[in-house]
Symmetry: C2
Subunit: 319 residues, 2 copies
């Protein structure tokens, strides 16, 4: 492979001139520029891209923090991110955290070390202050409704969505409603809990922590929920299930146990994944691919912006 | 942020010495080395990591070529890859190809330009020659049984697995067996077609291209297959379905149309995804997470190795 010295020799110019041309500096005559380009072409020269990155201060890499990829929620976000990355000539660096703080910090460190040009956090584990400390090093984009952190974001207003869904179930006659979430202490889950408590207060309904099921993420978690409900003295008559995967698991398990849906138990899923359509599950459609695309565009745009996306209730057979 | 010049001033040494120390060169006295380290500590200096990569010729980034992430097959591979990347202090650069050749070539180009240390191709689109041309630039690891390309690989012997599954269905009394695949022209699909033809020849059964369904990848593709089968004069009595997602779609759709499984149609899925367990689908378990882990370890290991993984038939209720 030709070195920069070989190129200089071939073009009959200095190494500095070659370097200037390769890095698009000015102050090089058109004649010399042409000679260098011809040498590059003739020698099939390929720059060490890290030298280019060093000189430009850009890597064309965007970091993406995800807890895991083997879940349709994150896989669909990633699909949107990957689509825009391709169109804008970037690559994504995938940082799987399993919701461990130290891994998210590693991702923030990559931004600080300029190994990535921006960081997209699809689901956050670190405290707001830790994120804020890293804002000077490059754009950080969040997938949550956060007024504390001065960063761009694309998010669902989980408070409103949850409240509206609870109202919908209430209008359908449900007075004892439970819900399933992935983790109790995420930002989105806290918004949902607030909506749930406000809803109960509005209709003077009692709060029962036994109606809240966490660690519900995968299809097999649906079985856990059904087993639990079958042992309850006062089981909920309806469930908001924040993942269609889990909703599909609940529906399948109820069929086996001869629990009638929606007669004995009404279900509203989330996301409108293909499985919800297949199994005729009422769900709240979240435009995850679009959200992924917008998160990416925010990461490569210098202007701060906060975009709330709209969701849609898809009425099917489980309510 | 402190620059390398600031550090030199603080440590009372030259910029060259600082650079030598930061990049672990020899020929620096222990005294000067200590002074630089103290300056680094005092100033909270963070190197531009691209300068480190340039000097070391390593980026600690491994490229991963995937057609898409929103499918459990690839998501589970990615889970294994991400696990080992973390343990070995690497990050993954995610290159989604949608099976387009030019995107796979871009990934190969990243290897050539030293933007990544190695490349893992989970599902290949380029010709063998294109891959071979890029072998001099760094390790390329494949997820297929390929004797043509001199690269490490972790793979399932799809010929044997398919042949054995067809034999199993034949022993259960099935003489008219079809199969569903994602794409006709992948390396794995060609192995499966060979197995299918050899099986038919062994038992003197006729070949009917109408029993082969391609473009079957997602749960909703199951409906397509069932619709097609219902219109056939001589429908197959059993199907090998190379994705549990599609198998789940077929089972769900058959329930709606009152097609009895396994009575009217026997189904063997692939992967043993959680949904197969939930829906009691007979399937061939592929250790995808383990395969992902092994692919990663091969990418960071200089020795060539080819590992065939074993699969296991999980007998449930659909045969």
């Amino acid at each position: 492979m030709a070195t920069i010295k070989d190129l200089a020799k071939m073009a009959g110019v200095s190494v500095t001139t070659v370097s200037r041309v390769l890095n698009n500096h000015s102050y090089v005559s058109e004649e010399k520029r042409k000679a260098v380009f011809e040498a590059v072409k003739a020698s099939n020269y390929d720059k060490n891209i890290n030298a280019v990155h060093l000189s430009k201060g850009k890597t064309q890499l965007i970091g993406v923090v995800l807890p895991f990829a083997d879940h349709p929620y994150f896989a669909l976000l990633l699909k949107g991110l990957a689509k825009q990355a391709l169109e804008n000539n970037y690559k994504l660096v995938f940082i799987q955290t399993d919701y461990r703080k130290e891994r998210e910090i590693e991702a923030l460190h990559m931004l600080k070390q300029k190994q990535i040009d921006a960081l997209i956090i699809c689901s956050r584990t670190c405290e707001a202050e830790v994120i804020e400390e890293h804002l000077p090093f490059g754009p950080i984009v969040l997938c949550e409704n956060n007024k504390e952190i001065e960063a761009s974001s694309t998010y669902v207003n989980h408070y409103n969505v949850f409240f509206d869904a609870l109202e919908y179930l209430y209008q359908k006659g449900h007075k004892r409603i439970g819900y399933c979430i992935a983790r109790k202490f995420g930002a989105n889950s806290r918004d949902r809990e607030r909506a749930y408590r406000d809803f109960l207060k509005k209709y003077h309904l009692p709060y029962d922590s036994g109606c809240i099921f966490d660690q519900c993420l995968h299809v097999e978690d649906g079985e856990k929920v059904v087993n639990h409900i079958m042992e309850m003295d006062e089981p909920p008559s309806a469930l908001l299930v924040t993942s269609d995967q889990v909703a599909a698991g609940i529906v399948t398990c109820c069929q086996k146990r001869h629990i009638s849906i929606p007669g004995d138990l009404a279900i509203i899923g989330f996301n409108n994944e293909p499985i919800a359509k297949m199994m005729n599950i009422t769900t709240i459609e979240i435009p995850l691919v679009d959200m992924g695309e917008n998160l990416f565009l925010q990461a490569v745009n210098d202007d701060l912006s906060n975009k709330e996306v709209s969701v849609q209730l898809i009425e099917r057979g489980t309510v």
